[in-house]
Symmetry: C2
Subunit: 607 residues, 2 copies
């Protein structure tokens, strides 16, 4: 007798203060699983085509998954999705910490936020009781201040929060939402959507862990992770920053707005250097033994508050090498400010790097930059710009729009240096180096994105992945710089599985210790569903197709599946000298991808 999963979806309308609870049937959960699956389902079903992302008609969906809240590492995450103010297409972002677990323990799988509050509010959800509370006094506060106020007000230091900072309030297009003030739902501007709804925070507290179909198997898998933690030892030791040194060596570290692939100052901003200098602790998500999160503290020249955690690899590269900056404490400060103001560190660094390049090329001048010298390597200008952007002060108002809109306002050829796909800034993985990921940037429904994407080199790097790829029909390793049909197939299978993980809102790192079959066992042990890997891959495929369908409806067809011109121009030096994405192969590879997904080649829509 299968266990029979059941759950609740909370719906809150901030225009009417109406609160409803749906209890979908089990098949709904088994079709969509949660996370990105729920987000794409509700956005596709309930949003009007052409809705204004920052208008009352957009909906903001917070979604956990069917496994979220189970007592095992990887299950503490949630998605946040809405139509994106950055791309005008499908938007969502995943985030770790404890908030997703707390939401499940409070009785809900997801929250759909509709409408717009007249004045600032926050939501308070405690064991199934939901309240819309005034947040006028919290408006303008940093995330840490806001969390502190809420915990005091609710008289419960155990309250978990999802909060926006001033950047979200000011509708910076790449504003993020912070879980527990140091885990960011960073990308696609979900913080701006939350700000546009006058929703400052969602505070949750729950005491009821959903039952498990087979607790023994969950425990056994938890033990497996602990016993095999050596496989991800580096992630514990150096955090995600562990990849920085190798990428730099191989020429894949974005440097000075992707003009180069190696950075002379890489050694100063590496995971190892961080560990040996400013690291004071390691943070975690719910029930996870890996503890890949950093906690840093700096006294001078910048004072960095450890409550905001520490920089990830993406942050070190975007605010560091990609801005030509080798000053680790400045990067740590900028990271702290991004978390305090609620801004995506990738897009923030990218928009600053863009400004630096425009300045160096004379497209932006001192009169445009509030007198700042926007040169690559100028750490204090970088730190100052973070605040200007969050507060939309001076040039910050321009950059708060993201590189695509900023370039179009600037004109004078600035577009060439605005590195984005569909309006979202390129993350810190060089597409000429990881060409599968480059193709993934182009076809991702959220614009340039590295999370729902393939890491071309993983297949060769990790044991369990080797078995996993064989188990999904990829029998041989493929070169990193390759866009053959076989590589495209690898991308399709790889991201199909990742889309499934993002329907679960499961961590990417915990599964590095095990294989697809164990992932399937975990699903069964929690839900009772006797699924096969085929079923789970089909969940991922369904979700990928729904996000595509959403974008097609919004007018984002294959013309949105591009890469900036820069990536078709070879590096003139460094390890990747002469390596290039071949434009014809790239276009061909896109066609193969569409065909494999069953999408029409001409519009990349549906036949």
């Amino acid at each position: 007798m299968p266990y029979g999963y059941n759950g609740k979806i909370l719906r809150v309308n901030l225009s009417t203060n109406n609160i409803e609870v749906d209890e979908p049937e089990e098949n709904f959960y088994r079709c969509y699983f949660g996370g990105r699956g729920f987000v794409s389902y509700y956005l596709l079903k309930e949003l009007k085509a052409g809705v204004e992302p920052l208008g009352e008609g957009n909906k903001l969906v917070f979604a956990a998954g069917v496994v979220t809240g189970a007592p095992i590492g990887g299950c503490g995450r949630n998605s946040v999705g809405a139509k994106s103010p950055l791309t005008n297409g499908y938007g969502d972002s995943e985030v770790g910490g404890y908030w997703g677990t707390e939401l499940k323990h409070a009785g809900y799988d997801a929250i759909i936020v509709e409408g717009r509050a007249k004045t600032p509010v926050y939501l308070w959800i405690r064991d199934g009781v939901v309240e819309i509370r005034d947040a006028t006094h919290l408006w303008g506060k940093t995330t840490a201040e806001c969390q502190e106020f809420i915990r005091q007000e609710l008289k419960d230091p155990g309250v978990r929060t999802a909060i926006i900072g001033p950047a979200g309030e000011n509708q910076v297009r790449f504003a993020c939402i912070l879980n527990d003030i140091n885990h960011a739902a960073g990308r696609t501007g979900m913080g701006a959507v939350m700000g546009s709804k006058n929703l400052k925070a969602i505070a949750v507290r729950g005491h009821n862990r959903p039952p498990l179909a087979n607790p023994e198997v969950v425990s056994a898998l938890g033990r497996w992770v602990k016993e095999n933690i050596h496989l991800v030892r580096d992630l514990h030791d150096q955090g995600t920053a562990v990849v920085l040194t190798r990428l730099n060596r191989e020429g894949g570290l974005p440097t000075r707005n992707f003009q180069e692939g190696s950075f002379e100052g890489a050694g100063k901003i590496s995971g190892k250097t961080m560990r040996e200098t400013i690291l004071v602790g390691r943070g975690s998500c719910y029930a996870c033994p890996i503890r890949c999160k950093r906690i840093v503290s700096v006294a001078e020249p910048y004072q960095v508050d450890p409550v905001y955690g520490g920089p990830e690899y993406e942050t070190l590269a975007s605010l560091g090498s990609n801005c030509g900056i080798d000053n680790l404490t400045a990067i740590a400060k900028a990271n702290e400010l991004c978390n305090a103001y609620g801004m995506d560190t990738i897009s923030t660094g990218a928009v600053i790097a863009f400004a630096f390049e425009c300045f160096e090329r004379g497209i932006l001048k001192k009169k445009d930059s509030d007198g700042l010298k926007l040169n690559f390597g100028n750490a204090s200008a970088m730190v100052e710009l973070v605040t200007k952007i969050a507060r939309r002060q001076g040039i910050g108002g321009l950059l708060a729009e993201g590189v695509a809109r900023a370039a179009s306002q600037i004109g004078k050829g600035a577009e060439e240096f605005a590195l984005h796909v569909k309006g979202q800034e390129i993350p810190m993985h060089e597409p000429c180096y990881k060409q599968g990921m480059g193709l993934g940037y182009a076809i991702s429904p959220t614009g340039a994105d590295h999370s729902h994407n393939m890491h071309d080199n993983l297949y060769m790097a990790l044991g369990p992945q080797l078995e996993d790829f064989k188990a999904v029909g990829i029998l041989e390793p493929l070169p990193v710089a390759d866009l053959s049909p076989a590589k495209v197939r690898m991308l399709v299978y790889y991201i199909t599985w990742y889309y499934f993980l993002y329907c679960l809102v499961f961590c990417q790192f915990v599964p590095l210790t095990w294989n697809y079959r164990q992932m399937k066992e975990l699903v069964r042990a929690i839900t009772g569903w006797n699924s096969t890997v085929w079923e789970l891959m089909k969940v991922g495929e369904r979700c990928l197709t729904m996000t595509r369908a959403f974008n097609i409806r919004e007018g984002l067809d294959k013309d949105g599946d591009f890469l900036p011109k820069r990536f078709f121009t070879p590096f003139s030096s460094g390890p990747l000298r002469g390596v290039i994405i071949d434009k014809n192969k790239f276009e061909e590879a896109k066609g193969v991808f569409y065909s494999m997904m069953g999408w029409d080649k001409r519009s990349s829509g549906f036949r």
Copy 2:
């Protein structure tokens, strides 16, 4: 450390007497698995487009699979494939018995037969030693006579044979190949291809069972089948004929050339009646405890030799109800003759039913029929026609061409009564009743075929299947008479799995006792491959796509994906009165199928 499958492919050219052995690398086996996978691979790779099916340029592939020969029920089968003389497209047929196992034990996974012998020959393969031997003295012999001669000549009563009878020699377009004289590779005319090559038989003897990666798991799965054999008790008790009574009751028993769906004489030809009258034993395939095969014996009015086994459901319906015949002994005799002459019982019955209808409608007259009264229900005429067809005597020469070619020769509107797809006669499952199977008939690469197809009602009938469908993403049962997109998805997933089973050349019935996961475990236990159901489904999908690609190359595009007009006309009486395949829904469903497979809608080829 994976086990590392390895094997050998034998290649015999009868024009040059050249014999070669290939040893493909492991990835080849893991991509294609065997059976239909190998057949489609070799035909697609090695046949020239437009090759004459009965000419020297066609190749005949006998293929076992990676699990064939393992000591567990279901693993005793093999495929035989070539370009079909019936459809001019992709042809193959699967067959049980002991021959496939013996081939593996003799050291080969497959045999590719090329060219054409100048005079009749047979192959003799013993533990890796291959010999082309004269068969002039065997030409014209029935299958039983031939097998007896070969065993005496080789002085080994344990020799296993794949043989053609006079029908194959005479290139009857639906001639078959018999394993062990009573297991037929029945469909698509493979016996005619073998005849065209002057190849009378392949005799094999092997003493080396391939090693197993994990013998304990194979044994455990074998025990599981025995312990759960009650799930397929009816198949043991009544054979495949067990379905006849229910189909008749529900209106799905093809009667008088598909003019009706219920037969007043059904009770006289049912599995129960057979068991209670002429059944003298139950036959089996290698290592199988189910023993679904029938052995019948009749003394008069017809003498039926038990060495040829007994009729399956398909035979009882095609030579029985569909010819309006309720005389079980006459059907048993016709079945014996079909096995002795080497003719597919489905197409044989279908072409006789076609002749009966043409005669009753005045399209064929007594002068055309060698004086026989070809009325529905005329059992003696039916039995006589079987011999005439095999020997191409009189009207038999016309009918030996199959219904499509015969109708076109007859003219006078006979085409309307020639029930086939792509030239292959419709098997004994009413497409208005099982509409998923009806669609499957239309899109099958081999023309109308029930084996690589879905049985719409199985989902509701069987426990393990219910779990299996959920495990591949089909969460709810669907009506039998339905062609909705959800039903098409069910068809796609169902036949994808079946194509995988036909790459394994695994039995359809043994897996009724277990589920997809156990099938995957069996593959792992035999090969050592740590596959997922996703990988196995992709093997099936790959194979289905290769067979399609072969047909596209031969000019068989979507216009070949039709159903005869009769199935769009409602029954005027019986349980299915008024039930019809809606023509528009049918065309729509085809489009959904193509889209799901990633095939172009216009040509149903590839984009």
